[in-house]
């Protein structure tokens, strides 16, 4: 073989490093979830004001200020928890993590109370009118994502309370936190569409 040619072979510059597969996996999961939410949001917007009978959004919907503040600030507390985990301050991590769970639960409870009011006092159900159908579907789809996130948050809380070395799982905790941010971001869209524009 011609040694001169081989000597000129393009060398790999530095270490061969590709993006982390877990990171990529979570990113594309979020992309595909976004596509799912987009269609529900589009359906909501298309049917805005198309209900043939009441109750209408402006009569029955109140701005869920407390719930929104809770959910959005839980994005902050989960970042703080992540930060604490990075610096191996486990007690602080558990505290912030617990705060995140409480805030998430508060959001779910508020949603539950809101739905209870809508169903029992305003007699709005999925089948009442188009508003009911699209409202419960979109908000329900988001809430179901919050519930899934909660289950994972609680799982992490439990294993760290029972002595599992959670500090070795920094990467997975980060993925969970990304998912949680995504759920928050979706809420910003849902809030804007349903409670601000749609009212």
């Amino acid at each position: 073989m011609d040694a001169a040619i081989v000597g000129k072979a393009p060398l790999i510059q530095g270490e061969w490093k590709l993006p982390d597969r877990g990171t990529m996996g979570v990113i594309f999961l979020i992309v595909t979830e976004s596509a799912l939410f987009t269609i529900f949001v589009v359906a909501y917007i298309v049917y805005m004001g198309h209900s043939l009978s009441g109750p209408y959004p402006k009569d029955v919907l109140d701005l869920p200020i407390v719930a929104s503040v809770c959910l959005l600030s839980s994005s902050l507390t989960i970042v703080l928890a992540e930060h604490a985990l990075k610096h191996q301050r486990l007690t602080l991590f558990k505290l912030w993590w617990f705060a995140t769970i409480v805030l998430g639960l508060e959001f779910l409870v508020s949603t539950g109370l809101e739905w209870r009011k809508l169903i029992y006092e305003d007699h709005l159900t999925v089948s009442t009118n188009l508003f009911g159908t699209t409202f419960y579907s979109l908000v329900g789809l988001h809430a179901s994502h919050v519930i899934v996130g909660m289950l994972f948050l609680i799982l992490v809380m439990l294993v760290s309370l029972f002595g599992f070395p959670i500090h070795t799982q920094e990467r997975r905790v980060k993925f969970l936190s990304w998912y949680w941010h995504f759920v928050d971001a979706v809420w910003v869209v849902v809030f804007t569409v349903v409670y601000v524009i749609g009212r």
């Binding site: 040619i5 790999i12 594309f28 999961l29 799912l36 269609i39 209900s51 159908t133 579907s137």
Partner: protein, 559 residues
């Protein structure tokens, strides 16, 4: 020294005595990408035969006027299940199976990025398929009405509402496809992440095989386009089970919205289905022309632009519902534009063959036929993309002829080419070339006979999905001609299956690299071992095996 080593010969390890249960257990519990890929493809072939038999019955029913082979209700179920099966249980698992088997081998990886997710994807897909077919038994539901779904593969509202579709047949359609779709999304995310994160050293994006490029963009389309279908199906479930009003026109809902949502999925879906064909051709044509592919960057660019433009053409399926003329104009224009990158691809394949040293083995024969037939399919597509032309021929047999030309005369030809091409890699044995050539000619004649007359039937005004027709319409001859294609197609498919089985046991040993090919899957043993590569290869150009075989004129000098 070159960095890719052919694996060392191992002395055969003494196998444990064969036991069926442990053999089954191995396959059921496997997370190996090659086995999962094969299971996808075998499942797809089984469903292909089932849906093919349905098509046979449909054609027999239509062979003569006033046909009485099946009753009208059965006929509606047949075309619904035929379409649904071919798209979701044949096309989609072929995408997943091919990319599962080949992508890790081609990029020099030992497995997919998420092997267990991969296994989950396959099993949930299979469960979705069973759920759809269980409708034949469970579809009558509590109300005792209905059997298999009979609403057509795109299940237009309001036909799917409780009032018009009683029983559980439509619910089986929704749930079966929803569940199978989760499997497709899982597998697509896996392919994307594998391609991004698992490439062997030196395998930059510009050196990645065309096959991997196309499957990467295919998977991108899957994760963007499948969720809209899932969303629409969830809405339909809400309508059917909770009394929702999404597609209920009496409460202000819109039946047209279902069409929009379905085709936002449905049009990218046809590109999802045809992309594997592009991927296969881009591998086979260069090898059998002994030339590197012509205009590689243009090829990648064309696929990528299809990956985006095809997301904005969906409403060309809906010219006849009465959209605004602005919408009609927009979707006519965008559909014409998506024809351009497709044209670039055909041009590049032909240019690759031009001046090449052609070897007309069976895989190449199928590729050549693909070029002719897919061109025709593309041209009828451009015709239908024109709004006024579509008004004339919408929902006619012209449309049926068009999409069967893309999917059978196009995709299925490419799949046959691919299966012949990689058969020696998968089994270690060569298929029987004589049988392969016979199958090619039988199948080509059969496909032309069956699907060309459909175009004429469309011009003569025959609507699609009709159960039968009166003798005085002038459709008799073309319908009989169309059905007569079966005489060639059925033996061709049987011959193919026989060839696969026969050659698996009796075929000649193929060796590791029977085609003198250039991509990494041919650098390992045939069949590849569990770990794929003894040593992770390192590549320096887009044709690593060429570099290895021609150390005096390696590709990287020219790239």
């Amino acid at each position: 020294m070159a960095s890719i080593h052919y694996p060392v010969e191992h002395s055969q390890v003494e196998d444990a005595p064969f036991s069926l249960s442990s053999y089954m257990y191995e396959w059921v519990s496997t997370v190996d990408h090659k086995r999962l890929g094969l299971m996808y493809i075998v499942t797809a072939l089984l469903f292909f035969v089932i849906a093919g038999l349905m098509a046979t019955i449909i054609r027999l029913q239509l062979a003569f006027p006033n046909g009485k082979v099946v009753d009208p209700d059965t006929y509606n179920r047949l075309f619904t299940m035929h379409g649904t099966t071919m798209v979701f249980l044949v096309g989609m698992p072929f995408v997943a199976g091919l990319s599962n088997y080949l992508v890790p081998l081609m990029i020099g990886a030992r497995d997919m990025a998420f092997p267990r997710l991969n296994a989950f994807g396959f099993w949930i897909f299979l469960f979705g398929g069973f759920l759809l077919y269980f409708s034949y038994i469970g579809g009558s539901g509590l109300s005792g009405a209905g059997s298999a779904p009979d609403v057509g593969w795109f299940a237009y509202a309001p036909l799917t509402s409780r009032a018009f579709s009683r029983g559980a047949s439509t619910d089986y359609w929704i749930l079966g496809i929803l569940v199978a779709g989760i499997g497709s999304i899982a597998s697509a995310i896996n392919v994307i992440v594998t391609t991004i994160s698992m490439r062997c050293p030196g395998m930059t994006l510009s050196r990645m095989p065309m096959f991997v490029w196309v499957m990467l963009i295919d998977s991108w389309l899957i994760i963007i386009a499948l969720p809209p279908l899932s969303a629409a199906q969830i809405m339909l479930l809400i309508d059917r089970f909770l009394g929702g009003n999404f597609f209920n026109t009496q409460s202000g809902g819109s039946a047209v919205l279902w069409q929009h949502f379905f085709w936002i999925f449905g049009h990218p879906e046809v590109y999802i289905l045809i992309f594997p064909a592009f991927a296969i051709l881009s591998e086979i044509i260069p090898i059998f022309s002994r030339k590197p592919i012509f205009g590689r960057p243009a090829m990648v660019g064309a696929v990528a632009s299809i990956g985006f433009i095809s997301l904005g053409v969906w409403a060309h399926h809906m010219f006849a519902v009465g959209m605004s003329s602005w919408s009609n104009t927009f979707f006519t224009a965008s559909t014409m534009i998506v024809g351009i990158p497709t044209g670039i691809k055909i041009f590049n394949w032909v240019a690759t063959m031009y001046g090449g040293k052609l070897r007309l083995d069976t895989p190449m024969l199928f590729c050549c036929a693909f070029l002719f037939q897919f061109l025709i399919a593309g041209l009828t597509g451009i015709m239908l993309a024109t709004g006024p032309f579509d008004w004339q021929l919408h929902d006619s047999y012209f449309v049926v002829g068009h999409f069967h030309f893309t999917l059978v005369a196009g995709l299925v030809f490419a799949l046959f080419a691919g299966m012949y091409y990689w058969y020696p890699k998968v089994t270690g044995r060569m298929y029987n070339e004589t049988m392969g050539k016979w199958q090619f000619w039988l199948f080509t004649i059969g496909v032309e006979l069956t699907f060309v007359p459909m175009h004429f039937l469309g011009f003569l005004g025959m609507p699609r999905r009709i159960y039968t027709y009166a003798p005085d319409r002038g459709w008799d001859f073309w319908n009989l001609l169309s059905t007569s294609g079966l005489i060639f197609q059925i033996p061709a498919v049987l011959l193919f299956v026989y060839n696969l089985l026969y050659s698996g046991f009796k075929g000649e040993r193929a060796g590791d690299d029977p085609w003198d090919a250039w991509t990494l899957e041919w650098a390992t043993t045939s069949p590849p071992r569990d770990y794929n590569f003894e040593e992770i290869p390192e590549v320096k150009s887009s044709r690593p095996l060429w570099d290895l075989k021609n150390p005096n004129d390696p590709d990287w000098r020219h790239e």
